[in-house]
Structures are given as structure tokens and as C-alpha cells.
């Protein structure tokens, strides 16, 4: 059971860290506030999920041990969330793709048999609804914008479309958690995801490519080169000063 929660926690921590990389670099002040806000939502959910996963594992690993002391191959996040930020268009499309999946996911998880999961779900379904709105508005504005922004949003779609499919695939651990009523079934959420994406794509004047080759492997610990670099930075302080406390 703890492995299924780790997958979810890793998704949120890695995406949260990616979003935090924009802090101080966003194209305008409002976005410099928005991106770390969204990062905090993700990292907040990750913390509760790590704590619960560590408790279920029963090996004495707390949230810090799980976040900072596992190597690349031990991370189980989907590949979408580890993709480099790229330009602002790519970051916003990645956020929309993730939130459009997680909003119905957490909504379904409100009926989880696990109290910690229900606790996260209650907050996160609303937070992800917010992320859909924010990222969706940008995808529309950029896709239906000036020639340069349309070009860049089109490139972002080409770049990220292959990573969508992995969201709907349940690992063996996730399937066990789904059968136990702890987590919702991933594949069942495809219609909800497609409804949001096609609504936004339509308003943005963008087309979703239908001949993509799905990229997967994250749930087995086979990652893209991008994750190792992210972890090296994120974990460096903790690894240089093991056990340090404020």
C-alpha cells in the first residue's frame, strides 16, 4: 500500500519542486506569486502522503527520509512532472495536464477507505480545480494569442503530449490500492481529463496530436535525464548535512 502512496507523493513533490524553480524568474510579478503558490499546494499534499506512506511502510522512514534520501531509481513519479520547465507555455500546459487529471482523481478519493487520503483529497481537489483554471486560462491566452505565443504553445503540445498516457496507467501497487478502495481507478478518469483538455484546446485553437508515441517508465523508476539533475539540486543540502535540524 505504501508504494502506491509513494507514487502519488513523488508526483506532487517533483512537480512542486519544478514549479518552485520559477520563483524569482517568472515573466511578471503576478506569476511570480502564482507559481510558488501552486508549488506549495503540491508540496503540502506530498508531505502528508509521504508521512502516511512512511507510517504504512513501518521502516521508520519519515517524510524527509523519503523525499531527500532516495536515489533516482527509487522515485516513482510519472515522467510528465519531471520534464524541464521549458518556457512559460510548456510549464502552463504541463500544469493543466496534471491538474486536469488530479482534480477528478482527488474528487473520487473523497470516498477513500484511508482517512489520511481523504484528508488530502478534501483540500487537493479544490486546489487542483484552481490550477486548472489558472493554467487553462494561460493555455487559451497563449494558444489564441500572438504568432510567437501560438507557435510556442503549439511546441509545448508537441513536447508534452507523449507524457499524457502514463497518468492513466496503474502500477501493480496502485491496482492493489484501487481494489482495496484506498485510491481511485486511474483509467476511469480519462473521459473527465479529455473533457477539460478538449475544452481548453478548442478555446485555444490548438489541436492535440493523435499519433504520439506514449513515454512511460516512471512508475518503475526508469526516468528521463531531467530527474537526476533535479534531485541533485533538491537533495544536496540534506545530503551534505545529514540529520541537520533548524
Amino acid at each position: 500500500m505504501h508504494e502506491a502512496l509513494l507514487e502519488l507523493a513523488d508526483d506532487h513533490l517533483i512537480l512542486g519542486h519544478r514549479l518552485s524553480e520559477w520563483c524569482g524568474h517568472a515573466p511578471m510579478l503576478e506569476e511570480d506569486l502564482a507559481l510558488p503558490n501552486m508549488a506549495l499546494d503540491c508540496i503540502g499534499s506530498a508531505r502528508t502522503l509521504y508521512a502516511r506512506a512512511g507510517e504504512l511502510e513501518g521502516a521508520g522512514r519519515d517524510e524527509d527520509a523519503l523525499a531527500y534520501r532516495r536515489g533516482e531509481r527509487a522515485f516513482r513519479n510519472c515522467l510528465l512532472v519531471e520534464r524541464e520547465n521549458g518556457d512559460f507555455a510548456q510549464t502552463m500546459l504541463r500544469q493543466l495536464m496534471f491538474a486536469a487529471f488530479m482534480e477528478p482523481y482527488w474528487h473520487a478519493a473523497l470516498g477513500s477507505t484511508d482517512e489520511a487520503v481523504r484528508g488530502v483529497a478534501g483540500k487537493a481537489t479544490k486546489e487542483m480545480g484552481y490550477h486548472i483554471r489558472h493554467a487553462g486560462e494561460w493555455v487559451i491566452r497563449l494558444g489564441d494569442g500572438a504568432p510567437e505565443s501560438t507557435l510556442r504553445m503549439g511546441r509545448a503540445v508537441e513536447e508534452l503530449a507523449p507524457y499524457a498516457d502514463e497518468l492513466f496507467a496503474s502500477s501493480a501497487a496502485a491496482r492493489a490500492a484501487e481494489e482495496a478502495g484506498v485510491l481511485p481507478e486511474r483509467e476511469a478518469l480519462r473521459p473527465a481529463w479529455e473533457a477539460v483538455m478538449s475544452d481548453v484546446m478548442g478555446q485555444a485553437g490548438l489541436a492535440w496530436p493523435d499519433d504520439v508515441w506514449p513515454q512511460t517508465g516512471g512508475r518503475e523508476g526508469r526516468h528521463t535525464e531531467a530527474l537526476g539533475h533535479l534531485l541533485a539540486e533538491m537533495q544536496s543540502v540534506h545530503r551534505a548535512h545529514p540529520g541537520a535540524a533548524w
Binding site: 506549495l40 503540502g44 484528508g119 483554471r133 489558472h134
Partner: protein, 163 residues
């Protein structure tokens, strides 16, 4: 009336007066994040529910509540309760009025209301009361606020977003 009940009432009063570190005009009681006070043998347990998953003020609030209880002479600890999740519906009427007086528009609607994906919320300006307002950004200086501007009095203001 038992000693425990008297203690609970006194402990509630001490904890309830703790201000929010980001919006100091409202207390943890006004925001509805102080859920319960109970006496467990000789220790007062204060149950708090965070507003947002990643609210960075959570630790500061927990420490302040614990300090307030110790200051009132109690052995105390704080318990973080995630479920049921906090909603803006838990902000008290007094809390909403304090937010408005401070220049922050309180949440406009009940959190359960169905809204279209890109629907606009009607937010009244906390300064002049006009409904002619525009959203600047979904995200403000803290996780719980959005940025708006009033097109009548031309003032920008924070909106405590509805969640």
C-alpha cells in the same frame, strides 16, 4: 461544573486570541482553524486544521497557539487535523467583517456552489462596496488570497478566495 470544563473554557479563550501571522487582524477562532480544545489528563490538546495543504504559516500558528496555552499556565500540545478539510465557510461572521474592514474582500459565495470552469465570481470592493471589480490574478501574496482591482474607486485589493 468540573475543573476540566472550566479549564477547557479558559484554554479556549487563550488559544482563540492568537492572531493569524499573515493577516493579524483575524484570530485563529475567526478563521475557524481552531477546531477543538480538550483536556487529556493534565495536558491541553488544541486541534488545528490548516487552510491550505502547503500553507507556510501552519508551523508558526501551531507554535503560537502552544505558546499562548503555556502562557496561560497549561501543559499543552497541538494536534494537526486534516479531515474534514477546512473551508472558507468556517470563517465566522465576525472574521468576515474584520477582513473587510482591513481591506480584504471576504469569500463571496458558499464553497459548495457549482461554478463553471472559467466562471467569474462577483467580488465587492472592500473599500467602496462597488461590484465593479476585476480579477488581476488567481494568486495573491498568500496561498489563501487572490488579487483584484476596483474599477469604481480604482484601488487594488486582496480577495480571500473561496475554497
Amino acid at each position: 461544573m468540573s475543573v476540566a470544563v472550566l479549564d477547557e473554557a479558559r484554554a479556549w479563550a487563550a488559544a482563540a486570541a492568537v492572531p493569524d501571522p499573515e493577516i493579524p487582524v483575524v484570530t485563529v477562532e475567526d478563521l475557524g482553524i481552531l477546531r477543538r480544545i480538550r483536556v487529556e489528563s493534565s495536558t491541553v490538546v488544541a486541534e488545528l486544521t490548516p487552510t491550505y495543504s502547503g500553507c507556510p504559516a501552519v508551523l508558526a500558528i501551531e507554535m503560537a497557539v502552544e505558546a499562548a496555552l503555556r502562557g496561560a499556565g497549561f501543559e499543552a500540545r497541538v494536534k494537526r487535523v486534516m479531515s474534514p478539510p477546512w473551508t472558507t465557510d468556517w470563517i465566522t461572521p465576525a472574521g468576515r467583517e474584520k477582513l473587510r474592514a482591513y481591506g480584504i474582500a471576504p469569500p463571496a459565495e458558499a464553497s459548495g456552489s457549482v461554478r463553471a470552469l472559467f466562471g467569474e465570481t462577483r467580488v465587492a470592493c472592500p473599500r467602496c462596496g462597488s461590484a465593479a471589480t476585476q480579477k488581476i490574478s488567481e494568486f495573491g501574496a498568500t496561498a489563501c488570497k487572490a488579487q483584484y482591482r476596483c474599477t469604481a474607486c480604482l484601488e487594488p485589493f486582496d480577495y480571500f478566495k473561496c475554497i
